[in-house]
């Protein structure tokens, strides 16, 4: 079950913040269809739908998408449109219809990225492709009401040095006024909306070749507010650097050696800070432990750049990955080689040449049977949490794990109002 679903679209996406998540996809900008169509659609998908290959609903939009994000309260979906607009969408409760609530064309060129604030669900960041444009939006004001039409977003304040295209924005997960940005520059920036300015620069020079990393992606630690990860989009040195801002002169950890080309996407797992997903121009998705910098798994490569990979925020056993190979795939983190796979490949190598040529044209499953290469098996934190796990045994005994998680006690609890039943072994 490597692939739970595959949507044959070149599209960017966002997950809903539900335990049983829904995925929204929007036609990716900068690609050309076989029929040179310039149509763009926003679509909603459910893994539990009766027909999982058919969207729950869709909406035609007048521009294509560079990015999508879903607000943490579930109310709004924001799109960074190629036209320069930031468009706000929403669904009905049944998830059977998509609507466009508001569209604001404030960016001077294409909008590149959008991110909702995890603490204050109404705050939205958007980035633009020129002059380091960053806007802060308030959905309580820009979506509906008399003033919505004339709404102007807020600027974050002064940059230390002029910024270029904004490629990535991320709100701090603990401090709602702090965010980070990265773009076509050799540094990532930390902003404080209270101070109304960029407060820190992060840059990294490779000790091997003296090249400065071109940070194109930023993401905050899920719980530790001073830690941030930056990824380099540079093909020459595609690294992830993990920083503690209290000592911002050099990274805590550098993740390298797995990606062979620039990194385009990074996601830090909200439910386990020892898990991180990256994806890039080498067509692949990697799973890392950012604490010790070790690669955990490498997922089967796609046939084109993989530009976004993200855990389902409330169901992190699964993630979605979008590639310019025309597919958005939903996969499980774990996909172990089983004895049934071994049987399948044995029967495959046993088949005659004629059988092979008979099957080859229908064999769409070649990618499906590929397994991730596991370098180290690391159980995510949401499995097997420390717990007392009490089990009854013969003779009315109860075996339980002690609160320290490393000791076991066998006791014989006295049940109030119940005589021990010797016959039944209680």
């Amino acid at each position: 079950m490597v692939k739970l679903a595959e949507y044959k679209r070149t599209a960017t996406f966002a997950w809903s913040h539900d335990r049983t998540p829904v995925l929204v996809t929007g036609t990716a900008a900068g690609t050309v269809d076989a029929d040179f169509s310039s149509d763009s659609t926003l679509e909603l998908w459910s893994l539990l739908a009766a027909a999982p290959d058919t969207p729950l609903c869709s909406l035609t939009t007048d521009a294509r998408f560079n990015d999508l994000d879903w607000s943490h309260d579930g109310k709004f979906i924001a799109g960074a449109m190629d036209s320069g607009a930031v468009e706000i969408f929403g669904t009905n409760n049944e998830r059977s219809a998509l609507h466009s609530f508001a569209k604001h064309s404030k960016h001077s060129a294409a909008a590149t990225t959008v991110r909702f604030n995890p603490k204050q669900a109404n705050l939205l960041l958007s980035g633009g492709s020129t002059q380091g444009e960053i806007f802060i939006w308030d959905t309580t004001k820009c979506v509906a009401g008399a003033a919505a039409a004339s709404y102007s977003p807020v600027l974050p304040g002064n940059a230390k040095t002029a910024l270029d295209e904004i490629k990535s924005l991320a709100w701090n997960n603990a401090m709602p006024q702090v965010f980070a940005s990265a773009g076509n520059t050799t540094y990532a920036s930390i902003w404080d909306l209270k101070a109304k300015r960029e407060v820190l620069h992060l840059d990294y020079t490779s000790p091997d070749n003296g090249a400065r990393a071109q940070f194109s992606v930023v993401e905050w630690h899920p719980s530790s507010s001073t830690k941030v990860a930056t990824a380099s989009g540079n093909d020459a040195d595609p690294i992830v650097a993990v920083w503690d801002l209290r000592e911002a002169n050099k990274p805590l950890q550098v993740l390298r050696g797995a990606h062979s080309k620039g990194i385009m996407s990074l996601d830090w797992c909200a439910h386990d800070d020892a898990l991180m997903l990256t994806a890039g121009r080498d067509n692949s998705v990697m799973l890392w432990n950012p604490d010790d910098g070790q690669l955990l798994s490498q997922f089967p490569a796609r046939s084109n750049w993989c530009f976004k990979a993200q855990f389902a925020p409330e169901c992190p056993d699964i993630f979605a990955a979008a590639s310019f190979d025309g597919r958005v795939q939903v996969q499980t983190l774990q996909n172990i080689e089983t004895s049934l796979d071994a049987e399948q490949s044995a029967s495959k190598s046993a088949e005659s040449e004629t059988d092979f040529w008979n099957n080859v044209s229908t064999d769409d499953g070649a990618v499906e049977t590929q397994k991730p290469t596991v370098s180290r098996l690391q159980a995510p934190a949401w499995y097997g949490t420390a717990n007392p796990a009490a089990n009854w045994a013969f003779g009315g005994k109860l075996v339980s794990i002690m609160p320290d998680g490393r000791s076991v006690a066998i006791s014989k609890p006295v049940i109030q109002g119940m005589e021990p039943n010797e016959m039944l072994g209680d």
Binding site: V2, T20, A393, L398, V408, A409
Partner: protein, 298 residues
């Protein structure tokens, strides 16, 4: 009271006594299983079983009529069957049909033979039978989208309404709980030789972490399900047929996530283990409501 301190170097996930209460098996994130001999207030480590490549979540002892046999399941996707002969433990079978973490493993009632039920995060449950001539092909069922957290056999029971002189029909069932917040009851069909979904029980608002079918053979069947939503539901069915009645063990939510449920062997006391490290005991009163029967002091 027996207490075994620092039994493992990492978190222990399960600890189970054998049929006679003489041997204790524990399993841990340190990838090992330990077998202890327990005698009165004393205990002795007999062996450390190594073979899994990831944390070991659960262990289960087979019925002693089959020998000293233990099954274990792990994040590495495998179920390993271990056997002790002349004081030496060895692996006698590895069951590797799941593509993700195997979260629970349980031996079937011994009347069915040497049969295992495994539940995996790959969304499937598997049933494998060990026969004298070898292992039968496993039955694999798609049970819960996004993962099965637990699976538990029903005690042996028979269908109601057999005519006089007729052999009553065996009712072979198990229950599963999953990451789709559902509890499902499955039933064996001897004609198709597989298990079919009999009932889907919805009531939890978050992942079902554990399901436990009461082992007592009464006219009424009980299933306890515990969830990430901090509730425990007891589902009951009369005469092994008809609808399942839903009773919440406690109207208010528990203080933390509930991880495990275990019925006493006679089936009337329910032990619930929570993320707050507390084990609470519950029993049904005459009015059919659940009331506290104590808390286990640690």
């Amino acid at each position: 009271m027996v207490s075994i301190t620092n039994a493992h170097n990492d978190l222990i996930h399960d600890a189970v006594l054998d049929y006679y209460g003489k041997r204790l098996a524990t399993c841990s994130s340190d990838k090992t299983i330990k077998v202890f001999e327990v005698d009165g207030e004393t205990h002795k480590l007999l062996d450390t079983l190594e073979g899994h490549e990831g944390p070991v979540w659960r262990v289960d002892w087979a019925h002693p009529k089959f020998g000293t046999i233990l099954a274990s399941c792990s994040y590495d996707g495998k179920v390993i069957v271990w056997k002790e002969e002349n004081g030496r433990w060895s692996q006698i079978a590895t069951h590797a049909v799941h593509s993700a973490s195997v979260n629970s493993v349980q031996w079937a009632p011994h009347e069915y033979g040497v049969m295992l039920l495994a539940a995996s995060s790959d969304g499937k449950v598997s049933i494998i039978e060990f026969k004298e001539q070898g292992v039968s092909a496993p039955i694999i069922i798609d049970a819960h989208t996004v993962g099965v957290n637990s699976a538990c056999w029903a005690p042996v029971s028979y269908e109601d309404g057999a005519a006089a002189g007729e052999q009553p029909k065996e009712l072979r069932r198990f229950v599963t709980g999953g990451a789709d917040n559902l509890v499902k009851v499955w039933r064996y069909n001897s004609e198709t030789q597989t298990y079919a979904l009999e009932d889907t029980l919805s009531g939890h608002a978050d992942w079902v972490r554990d399901v436990a079918w009461s082992p007592s053979v009464l006219l009424r069947s009980y299933i306890a399900s515990v969830s990430q939503d901090k509730t425990c539901i007891v589902w009951s069915q009369e005469n092994n047929k008809g609808p399942w009645k839903k009773t919440e063990v406690q109207q208010d939510k528990f203080p933390d996530v509930l991880w495990r449920a275990s019925w006493s062997l006679s089936g009337n006391i329910l032990a619930l283990s929570g993320g707050d490290n507390k084990v609470t005991l519950w029993k049904e009163n005459l009015a059919g409501a659940w009331e506290p029967a104590g808390e286990v002091q640690q």
